[in-house]
Structures are given as C-alpha cells and as structure tokens.
Amino acid sequence: MLEVKNLHVQVDDKEILKGMDITVAPGEVHSIMGPNGSGKSTLAQVLAGRETYEVTEGEITFQGKDILDLEPEERACEGIFLAFQYPVEIPGVANTYLLREALNAKREYRDEKPLKHVEFGKLAKEKMKALGIDEDLLKRSVNAGFSGGEKKRNEIFQMQILEPTLAVLDETDSGLDIDALKIVANGVNSMRDSGRSFIVITHYQRLLNYIVPDFVHVMVDGKIVRSGGKELAHELEEKGYAGF
C-alpha cells in the first residue's frame, strides 16, 4: 500500500529525515515511536504533502502510484488522511460544513454524486453516536474553542466520515484522559479491516494497549533504527530511547 524509500526531507536547509524507509501493507497497523525531534511529525506532514517540507531524495509510492508530485488535496482524495497533532481552528466555518465539502470533494474525485444534506446528516449522526460526540459540535466552528479532547475526537470523527485507505495518526493520544483515549482507540479499531492501514505516531506505549499494532518502529535522528512487533513498545517504555 505505502512504500517509502530512502526519504530525505529538509526544512529551511536543515535535513530532518535522513533516509527513511517504511513499507506498510494493506490491513496493517504500524506504530512509529521515537524521541522528540526525531522526525516523526515531519514524516506525517510529508506523506500528506505539506509544501513547507522539501523532499530532496527518495520516493513515496501509494497504491503503486508515485505521489510526490500530487497536491495535498489529491493525496487526500487518493485516500490518505492525517489526524493532526494540533488540529487547526477555522473560525466561522461550521464543522459540518467543512466535512461535507471535504467528503463531496472526495466523491467528486471518484466520479460519485455529492451527498445531500439529509444523507450527510444521517451519516454524521451515526458516526457521532459511536464516538460519544455531542451533536452541537457539528454546528460549532471547526475546532474553535474545542477542548483538547474534543479536537482529537473530532479528528477521529472526520476520519470515520472520510474513510481513508491510509490514516496517519500524529500523536492523537497526547493530552487525552483515559476515557477519551479509549473512545479514540475504539474509533480506530472499529475501522480496522483488511483493506485499510494505519500509521500511529506516539510517544507512549499506553495508546498501543488499546490500538494494538502489527509493527513497531523506532525512529531516531531522521531514520528508523529498529523495527519489531508490539513487544518492542514495552521494551521502549522500560528502557527509554537512551540505547539508540
């Protein structure tokens, strides 16, 4: 599904990713862990196509397609979703409005008819219930005045509506209490199937008790230094990153 080979990325002439490799097959959940500043979030942003990051070397193929030249919206429509570490506030734009526009953009890309208000409303209500999201969150401006937990839940809610093929979760667990963490994890788990993959970026093993990964990778200084199964996360929790 996703193949990243020898990826080098720089920001303001500073190299952040220094030869990153990762391969994700359909249906797999990969977790990337690593100390602050190791380049985890950079990877997430580059996969989504953020223009402030310059890819100097390497390749990214998604479902057999080279996506390096695709605009962020094209990658989104191809099925890549990023749950932001810091979801952005957009005052005056109703949450439901952005989401319906987004879903319909994606549908248009696939030559499908846009979803009508009523149909969208039904879909949104269904998903919201499962995530324990209050209905008035739909009417509020995108992320404006949301609590930390609400923002993260909103990201998962958007992911459920947009049904990506590859979802990248960038520290979705940070700042969540244990109940919110469970809700978020349930939201992810309910979407796991043989055709959908996840990359879960986190600092803590805690989240991985609820979203159990198939692979765990340790990222240090812009590349992956060790990969293993879920037990690697426990080892990291005990020993820290000092050994790398």
Partner: protein
C-alpha cells in the same frame, strides 16, 4: 500554488458588458447651465434648483479631500458628463413601455423586472445611469401606505416630504463629494414608511452605470416614521472599461421613535483589471439619523468592487436608547484600494453602537478601516463595541486600521478589539488535507471570517454575497 489558479486570475468580471441603447448625454463639464439643465429635465421646482446651485457654490470653494489612504490621479471634473439617460420613455407606466435592451440588461444581471419572476418579497427600483427606469410592486406597497419610487418622482409627487428631509442628514455642503452630489444628483430611490407600518417586502435598488465618460450621482432618502420597519438593499454593477468612472452618491436615513431601518449594500462596481487599469471611483456619503428614542439604524455592506472605495456609513444617535450598527466586509484584490469604515456619534442617553469590520486584502489590494466613535457630553451610559479584523492573502497586499475614539462623558463603556491575520498556511493545509482545492479552501476560510457580517444580510442576499466573495477571490492564490 497550482498552475490552474493562475488562469483563474485572468477571469473576466461577469457584469462587464455594455448595453447598446440610444442615450441622451450632457456635454462634458460642470457649470450652472448643466445644473439648470438637469433640474429642468426633471421638472424640478424652483427651490430645488436653488438648493442645487447653493451646493455648487459650496463645492467650488471646497478642496478634494486627500486624507484617505488612497492613491489615484487627480480627477478632472470637467472631463465628466453629469447626465446620461436612455432616450426611450422616461417614466414607463408598465413593463411594455421599457426599452427591451434595458429590460434585457437587468435580466442578464439576474434582476428580472417582471414581478412574477422576482424573488418573492423583494421590490426593485432599477436605476440606469442617471435615471430610474422602473420600480416594481409600487401598487402593492402603496396599499400599506409605503412610498417606494425614484427620487425624481418623489420630488414631483411628494414635494413636502422631500423638501423637509433632503439634506437634513447630509447637508449640501457637508463634504466635497456630498456637495458635488447635491449639485448634480440625478436619480436614486425614495422610501417613506408611515407610522406603525412594517414594510411587507424587502426594498432594493439596483444601480447600473452604462454610459461612457459619465459619472453617476445618485441620491437616496429613506424615512421611517414612528414604530415602522424597513429593510432596504442596494446592488451595483458597471461595464468593464479602460478609463475610470466616478460614482459619488449620498444616502440619507431618518429613523423616528422606535423605528428601524436596515440598509444593506452589495457593491460590485467594475474593479479594474489586473494591472489596475479602469474601474469605478466610488466616493460615497452615507449617514443615518436616529432622531427618535429607541430608534435603530443598521448598515451592512459587502464591498467587493470598485478601483477606489471611499465610504463611511455613519449613525448619529440623537434619540435616547437609540442603536447604531455597522457590519462590513471589504475585499480588495488585484490593485483595488478601499478606505472604509464608519462614524458612530452618540448624542442621546443610553445609546449603543456596534461595529464589526472585516477587511480582506489579496493580490496587491490595500484595505483601510477608518472609524470614529464619538461619545458626546450628554450621552450618559453610552456603549460601543468595535471589532475590527483584517485578513491578508499573499504578501503584496496591505491592511491598515485607523480607529478614532473621542469620549466626552465618563459613564461611557467602550470596547475595542482588533486583529490582523495572514490567511493561515496551516488552515489552508488542513482544508486541503481533507480534500478541498486551494481555491475552495481560501473561499471557505474567508467566508468563515465574514460570517458575523453575512448573517446580518437578508437570507437570499447572504447566499449571493458568499458567491460574490468567492468569485472576487479568484486568482488570489497562485
């Protein structure tokens, strides 16, 4: 961002066509004879001619104001024609008498003059260059005692009302452009809502500049008697031309006890091309007097057109407990310049005012908010809330804010909030990551930014305003 957006930047102004009608156009230049000619064309009474000539005398002694943050070449007032009117029937009794070319023009603009085709509940006065060509729903409004007609017709049919109120809000010597307008104004709308009547429909005037080398000088007068309510909307477009054209209007509003006037503007005059060639110079004086207690005047404006905009819709809050409001969206793209804002003059006790201004600058546009809040010495417990937000798109545009506050009564309560933001790269990326194109993302973010103002517009026009904003923003990312 993407290459396609560059193409959109070349997008033509949708309303730039010219209507081919036979017109009577006054020779260029301004002098007493021209004023006498305009007055006699309109069969005006002697007092009005005198009033015009007095204004002209004032004007000759005045200097063109240059304090605004606007750059434009000196206007040659003798290179403009002050009167242009279609030769066809000047005051048609029915639609059949209107020149079909003119009717078609309004159809093309999306303002069909047939009553059955109109938006339900909206009456229209159509002003074409210097004259009103038609007013719809007149009879229906007359049943309620509401007068809605062109100002020329009002001068003939309701001279006492016009004489009583004309210049009572904006005196003929008020400022350079108001004096010019008072001398040569040609048409515009007149509205009178009697005591206790809630006007049953939205009233609107659609201003169209068509003739070349002419200025448009319209005058609008709205009077709301005790306990009445009226909502009025104006829209404006003009053909695409290489030379600049002058538009200098005066609008006067009078609200008596417990009366409410809502005045909305969607201004989409031709803005000029990408290089800044052509476009309307829009110098407008708009003011309302809340003379009665608990009266209310609310200005809402969406300014997306014109090369130059100079406009400060204001409220004089004379009656105790009166309320003034100003909600504004001003967008400057390409080389457009806008210097706009409001004046809230608090005279009476417990008066309150609200100012919400949203300025958006894109391309090489320059956008200025200029506002005055004045609390008079007798204005006990006056309140003002001002919120003034600017948004920048790209790095070649500018936003400037000049708020003036003068408080002469210590019981006043003032709040002022201001912000300037660049359209966030992070906001853009967030929307695009969800699947929106760069252009849709800008439009979505800007419309969100303007939400507080749009919600003040009558519903149909709010939708219109959102669309207009999206079109005006085209090419702003690239």
């Amino acid at each position: 961002m993407s290459v396609d957006l560059e193409k959109l930047a070349q997008e033509e102004y949708k309303y730039g066509f010219v209507t081919d009608v036979e017109q009577e156009i006054a020779p260029k230049g301004l002098n007493e004879d021209v004023i006498r000619m305009i007055s006699s064309k309109k069969n005006e009474p002697e007092w009005l001619l005198e009033w015009r000539l007095g204004a002209y005398e004032h004007w000759q002694k005045m200097k063109e104001p240059r304090w605004a943050f606007l750059r434009y070449p000196k206007i040659d007032f003798n290179d403009i024609s002050y009167y242009a009117a279609p030769k066809s029937n000047p005051r048609p009794k029915s639609l059949d008498e209107i020149d079909p070319e003119i009717k078609e023009t309004y159809d093309k603009l999306g303002i069909p003059l047939e009553e059955q085709k109109m938006l339900a509940g909206v009456a229209v006065d159509a002003v074409f260059d210097s004259v009103s060509v038609f007013t719809t729903f007149k009879e229906k409004l007359a049943e309620e005692g509401v007068i809605f007609c062109s100002i020329s017709e009002a001068v003939e049919e309701h001279p006492d009302l016009v004489r009583k109120y004309l210049g009572s809000v904006v005196p003929r010597g008020d400022n350079f452009y108001a004096a010019l307008n008072s001398a040569v104004f040609t048409d515009g709308s007149f509205v009178y809502v009697p005591k206790g009547v809630r006007c049953p429909m939205e009233l609107s005037t659609y201003f169209r500049i068509n003739a070349e080398n002419t200025g448009q000088f319209e005058r609008t007068l709205i009077i709301a008697e005790e306990g009445s309510y009226v909502s009025y909307l104006e829209g404006c477009t003009a053909p695409q031309r290489d030379e600049n054209q002058l538009h200098a209007a005066v609008v006067e509003l009078i609200a008596h006890n417990d009366a409410t006037i809502k005045y909305s503007t969607i201004q989409n005059w031709y803005p000029g091309d990408k290089q800044g060639k052509g476009g309307i110079y829009n110098f407008v004086t708009k003011r309302g007097r809340c003379v009665g207690r608990a009266s209310r005047i609310s200005w809402t404006q969406v300014e997306t057109g014109s090369a130059i905009t100079w406009k400060y819709p204001s409220c004089v809050l004379e009656g105790d407990n009166s309320v003034g409001e100003f909600y504004s969206v001003a967008l400057t793209n390409r080389r457009q310049q806008a210097d706009t804002g409001t004046k809230m003059v608090h005279v009476g006790k417990n008066t309150s005012s609200t100012i919400i201004s949203k300025g958006i600058s894109a391309g090489e546009g320059q956008n200025v908010y200029r506002g005055l809040v004045e609390i008079g010495k007798n204005a006990e417990k006056a309140r003002n809330y001002t919120q003034c937000d600017s948004m920048l798109i790209g790095d070649r545009c500018g936003a400037h804010t000049f708020p003036y506050i003068e408080v002469k009564n210590s019981t006043a309560h003032m709040e002022h909030e201001a912000s300037t933001s660049k359209i966030g790269e992070d906001q853009m990326f967030y929307c695009r990551q969800r699947g929106l194109s760069a252009e849709d993302a800008v439009s979505l973010i800007v419309n969100g930014f303007c939400k507080e103002v749009f919600k003040e517009l009558p519903f149909e026009f709010a939708v219109e305003a959102e669309k207009l904003l999206s079109v005006s923003l085209e090419g702003s990312v690239g």
